[in-house]
Each structure stands twice: as C-alpha cells, then as structure tokens.
Symmetry: D2
Subunit: 229 residues, 4 copies
Amino acid sequence: MNVEEMKKAVAKEALKFIEDEMVVGLGTGSTTAYFIKYLGKLIMDGELEEVYGVPTSYQARLLALEAGVPVVGLDEVDAIDIAVDGADEVDPQMNLIKGRGAALTMEKIIEYRAGMFVVLVDETKLVEWLGQKMPVPIEVVPVAWRAIAEELEVFNATAQLRMAEKKDGPVVTDNGNFILDAKFHRIEDPLDLEIELNNIPGVVENGIFADIADLVLVGTKDGVKRMER
Amino acid sequence: MNVEEMKKAVAKEALKFIEDEMVVGLGTGSTTAYFIKYLGKLIMDGELEEVYGVPTSYQARLLALEAGVPVVGLDEVDAIDIAVDGADEVDPQMNLIKGRGAALTMEKIIEYRAGMFVVLVDETKLVEWLGQKMPVPIEVVPVAWRAIAEELEVFNATAQLRMAEKKDGPVVTDNGNFILDAKFHRIEDPLDLEIELNNIPGVVENGIFADIADLVLVGTKDGVKRMER
Amino acid sequence: MNVEEMKKAVAKEALKFIEDEMVVGLGTGSTTAYFIKYLGKLIMDGELEEVYGVPTSYQARLLALEAGVPVVGLDEVDAIDIAVDGADEVDPQMNLIKGRGAALTMEKIIEYRAGMFVVLVDETKLVEWLGQKMPVPIEVVPVAWRAIAEELEVFNATAQLRMAEKKDGPVVTDNGNFILDAKFHRIEDPLDLEIELNNIPGVVENGIFADIADLVLVGTKDGVKRMER
Amino acid sequence: MNVEEMKKAVAKEALKFIEDEMVVGLGTGSTTAYFIKYLGKLIMDGELEEVYGVPTSYQARLLALEAGVPVVGLDEVDAIDIAVDGADEVDPQMNLIKGRGAALTMEKIIEYRAGMFVVLVDETKLVEWLGQKMPVPIEVVPVAWRAIAEELEVFNATAQLRMAEKKDGPVVTDNGNFILDAKFHRIEDPLDLEIELNNIPGVVENGIFADIADLVLVGTKDGVKRMER
C-alpha cells in the first residue's frame, strides 16, 4: 500500500464505529476527507440513518455538504458521540500534534467533547516523542504573535509565523487568527506543555492534544493496526 | 469624594509613574478613560515627550486618539514599560477580576507583558475573596458557548451568555467572540482557576488576573491608598 | 391592541405563509422573535413538517434552537422559499430601513435571495419617507469608520459610531464590524442611495432595503393590515 | 531587465513622489514590498522625515515594521497624501484588477482616499481589456459564497472559491472573509461592473479598481514608462 491507500484504508476502518443516530465530529485534512466522503456515501445509500456531522473547519463543512452528510453546529447537539480526525504526529502514549491544516482550535473544541475520539494516520506519523519531526502549531491573536514568538524561546522553541501562499502575508485561520509553528527540541511532558502554552496570554489554543485520543488507526503496509488505551 | 471623584483621583495618581519615552499599556473602562485623557493633556502640553500608548481595546484606541496620545501596536514595540487599567474586583493579595468591558483578552495580552502593571479602582471594588460580588467574564469561541457553560457547572459556577443592548443577540467582543459571565461560589485559588479555565477548549481567555498586578491605587473617601507587593 | 399585541398579531399572520418543506429565512428583532417562537411550536406539534430555518443572526439562531426550529446555513440550501423579518421604517412604496439590531448584512444576504420576503411591523414604523424618524445603520470595516463618517457629510448626513452598553467601546457586529448610524435629511431615492452607500470603500452593507419587500404585514389597533406590490 | 529588475525599477521610481511629512498608503504584494523596503531605507538614513505608512494588509504592516517605516491606522490620520500599490491587470484607461494577494478591500479603502494613487506594474500586467488574463477577486461573507458564485453566472462569469495551500480549506482574508475568483469573458464597462458587484448582498468588495489610478509606472525592458490621465 502507498500512503494514499493507507489513508483510504484507515478511513474505511473508521466507518465501522459509526452507527445510526450518531453525532459525528468531522475532522480536517486529507485522511479525514476520505472518511467524510465514505460516510456521505453510506448516508446517501441509506445504510446509515439520522447521522449528523459537526464540522471542525470550513473545509470539513464544504466536504460534508458535497458528500451528503447533514451538518449541525456544536450548539445544536446535546453530545458528540464520536469524532474522527487525522494527526501530524502520534507518540506511543497516543498523544498527538495536530494543526498543520490550521484548524486545531475547532478540532480540539469538538474532539475534547466527543464520547470517543478516533485518530486516523498512516505509519509515517508515528514518532518516538512529540516534536520529533513536526513543529507545534499555535493559534494566536494576531497582534500578539511577535511577543509570543519571543517568549517561546524560554521553552527552547523556535517559532515561525506561518505565511500563506494563496494570499499575501500570514495564514489567517477560520477564526481570524495567526499560526505560529513552534519547533521544540523534544517534548518531555506533552500534557504539561499543552497547559503551559494555553496559559500564555494571546494563545487561543495549541496543537498538542494530550490524553484525548481513545483509538488510533494506523495505516501500514500490512494493513490497518490499532493503538488503544 | 464620590465615586467619580475617586476615579479621577487614582487616574491622576497613576500619571506620576509615567516618564518620557515610556510605552504605556492603555486599559479599558471608565477609570482608565480619565487616565488616558489626563495623559493626553500632558503630552499635548509638552510635559511628557516620546510617550506612546498601546490600547487594549477599540475604546482605548478611540479615547487615546481623541486625547492626543499617539498609539502603537504590541507588534511595534520591544517592551511595554507600564500598563494602567481598572478592575472589577481586587482581593487582598491583589488578584483581580476583570472583563466587565469585554476587553479582557487584549488587556491580559498587554498587561501580562508590562514591566509594571498599575491597577486603578475605587474602594467599592475591594473584596475579601474573588467572586464575592462579580461573575468572572470568560471570552469563548461562539460555537462553544453552550458546551462551556454546561461544563462550568463542574466548578459550581452558573454561567450566562452576555446579551447586548445596542444590538440584538449576544455581545460580540473586539475579537469576534462571546462573553460568558460565570458566577462562582467562592474562588479559593485564583491562579489555579485561571489556568484551569484557560485549558478548556474554546476558552480564549478569562477574567481572572492572578499574580499580575504590581500596584493597586485605591480611591477612598480619605484619598488614594496604595496596595503593593 | 398595544404594541406588544400588534407584534404578536403580525407574527401569527405570517405563519399562514409557511408550508411543509419550506426553507424559511429567520429575521432578527423582537417581532420576528415571536414568529420564530410560534413557528417552533407548530413544528414541535407536528403541524409543520420538514421546515428549516436560515437564521440572519446569532440571536435568530439562539431563538430558533430554543424554539425547536431546525437551522441550516445559506450554503446548505438550494433556495430560500420565504423570509420573515421586521423593519425600523417602511415607506409607502414598501422600501425599508433596517439594522437597529445590527444584523442588516446577514439579513440582506438572506432576504434578497428569498422567493418571498414578508415584513412584520407595527403601525408606528410606517413613515412618509425613509429617514423620517430613524437613521440608516451602515455596517463598516472598523478602521474605515471615521473616514466614512466624514464622507457621509456629502450626502447631508450626520453619522454616529454606535457605542455598546454591555461592553466598553463600539458595538461589534456578528461579522466583527462597526455600525454607523447615519441621519439623513430626507431620502428621496432609496434605491439610488442604497447603491451609492454600498459603493463607498469600507462599507460592507447598509440598512436601506429598497425594492425587496413583497408583503408588509402591519399591526394596527384595528388588526393586521397588508401592504402589497 | 528581467521581471524582478522591472519591479525594483518601478519601486525606485515611485520613491520620487514621497516627500517629508507625507502619509503614504502602503500596498500589498511583491512589487510594493520593494517600495516599502526602499522607503524604510530612506527613512532610516534620515533622507525622509516625518513620513508615516498606512498599511493595506498584515503583510504590508509586517514589511513596514521590518523596514523601519512607522505605521499608523487610517483612523489616526486626517488624509492620505499618496498610496503606492501593484495591480494584476491594467487596461489602457488605467482601470485595474487587483486582489491576487487577497487584500483588495483594505487596499481600496486606503487608495480610494489617497490624494494620489500610484500603481506599480511590470509590462506583463498591461492588457487590452480587463479580464483578459485574470479573474476578478471578490471578497465575500463566508456563508454567502455559494449563492454569490451562482449569481455570477448572470454576468457570464465562472467563479471559484479560492482554496489555501498552507491551511486546509478556503483562503481566509485579513478581514475573515472568503475570496471568489470570477473569470469574466470580457469586461466592457469596468466602473459599471464594479458598482454592480458591490451591490450584491454578501459582497464586501471587489477587485475592479476603475477610475482611481492617477499614475501607472510600468517596468519595461527599456526602463520605466508612465501612464497618466
């Protein structure tokens, strides 16, 4: 299997957890895009009934509407039964780095509240420790970006303001904020860092998702493997 | 002195801390409004030179421009020498509740980074413990307001979505978010609660300002008193 | 009938136009609030089926969810069958001033696209010419407010930045913008003014709704009267 | 001269129009980036005094601060003496298409109000009629994008929602909106189309800048040429 096939395989595997009348948090990114597409097909074919999606981004919303998944907002539902999303890094304790797609705030809002959070990755995303390959995306209030970038040096991190390609200047998130990509040497205690970063004034949310994944489906050359608590 | 005179008295007292070439964080609210006005007069009269203000809200910006205080953004300065702002409650350890004016996020962004943070209040704002009279304003991403309001029950808090009077529906902050006013029974450990609230996904910032004030100027019937660390 | 009873009467009258499977634009304001409440009751009672609401504001969304009207976004529907909303002034040609609730941009986005636009007012809103009693609310990009306010003098208008009461500083709209309330002497040609205002750079939308209402239901002491094209 | 040299040449030429005490609108894009850099050098070297820049985007602001151009907001100045910006297309009457950098709204807000508007392009941007090579970028309120895209078919235009590369989903502008890139067959009357587009509810601003440029500096292989009214 190549990477694209791995993505499809885990997306299909995730479908097994979706039942009638579920409210499903819909993640952002290329792997989840397959999941949304497949989910829409099941709904359109009548194999799933009364399933609603809660999108974590404009992208997820557009894909869901296109695929035929009816969408609702977080304020319309009593609970989210399950959320399905990708990740940029997964450590052996199932802590995650997310946010390459700049949707981390809404993703965490939804996934933190889901009864079950299923993560879809291919095996290239598995790391020994968080920060091994990827920076931690941090969503910040625009005017504070420079001050926060400097303060991150205390954490031995080097932060870059993420610049856009299809507009001039920085990437603007769906919430109207900026993204700092902070490269840490090695993240020893993800939960601790997650809390510390969130407590910096001007930080809206950060891309460390510690202690929140319930199940990770990993696409490998030999098929889909599971990491569970 | 009545309350209005107290506000003017502490605003005047705060001027004594402003020196030439200082960058001054400009708070939001009625007491700070006097401070901005007086500061502008000193600058226009040439008694202060090369002083710049960093506004914490649209209100502070409008008042500063009107008063003649040149404004700069946080991203334009290397450091903020001093910040001056009001508060809704002050406990004996100089912990604060702020946010009745809905500007708490930008206020904390500026004041956390100020070399010295001076708080201006009249004596009616002094409390034995935080939460005694006032709710804690919490700025939240709009779609998450209902979920967060429910989760605050775990903290024995009752949260109300703040509704506007000059527009239909909820108050929208300068950052485009909503305000939850959360009434806590009694806040035992302000710093701990401040951190816990910030770690709820969807919370942008909250109105507890623990361990951040350096000096509180209190307007009393008998004149201005000081609380210091 | 007092004003509150008139509002209820027109709200009830508007229900007659709602049929099964309709997509209904939900306006903002106190009169429409009754309509949303009544509509929700019909849906909950099973007297209307497969009816969806497209809210024009956070307020309308909150009210709809509370009342039991399922909501969808404009991007989820192929067409809006009917929109129901209030107005601040109605002239004899059924031109409107709207925007006291600061939701004018989303209202115009929805109502301009509705197959039928029904306006609910009490008789105090009827005027001989637009601008007789009310200013025209204009939604503007924040940084441009002062320049636009000055330019409106060319139109013999006096514009005020709308200040909030439940937050410090200006009212911020659901879209993150400001509202200028522009008092015109007398608006001779509403359609012309509507176009001219929209063409001022920095104006997002304005509160003149010319040539767009299909039916006005007017609450009077003697019952509900109709204005039709 | 290659294209990069042409950009530098026109940027240098534009400097000749800047005098002491001027307020300068700072455009967005790669050509204007050279202008901002050169302007900053003149200011740092003391060859220009009391010059302030009004940025049209986050990008222009970042570049100005880096280059040493002091920035002010539109609400801080009585007038903008001159604005300097690039363009995506220039027709023989000096009408423009702008907005590839997604900053068109703030650009038009600033440039429409400038005493003189100088446009910097290389010769590849000259066209016989607007729309010959480039689509017209249109900034729209997010929820209205699909409806507006459909309505543009009336104008014989094909509109695409601009997708981002450094975030998942659509490009979000500095104002929090979306960009539709609308390909028109041939734009006969730019001023007329500019007004018509702005009058579609949900359109914040569009990328046609008709009758607004005072001078176009064109970088050619043979040096800088001028188009004037």
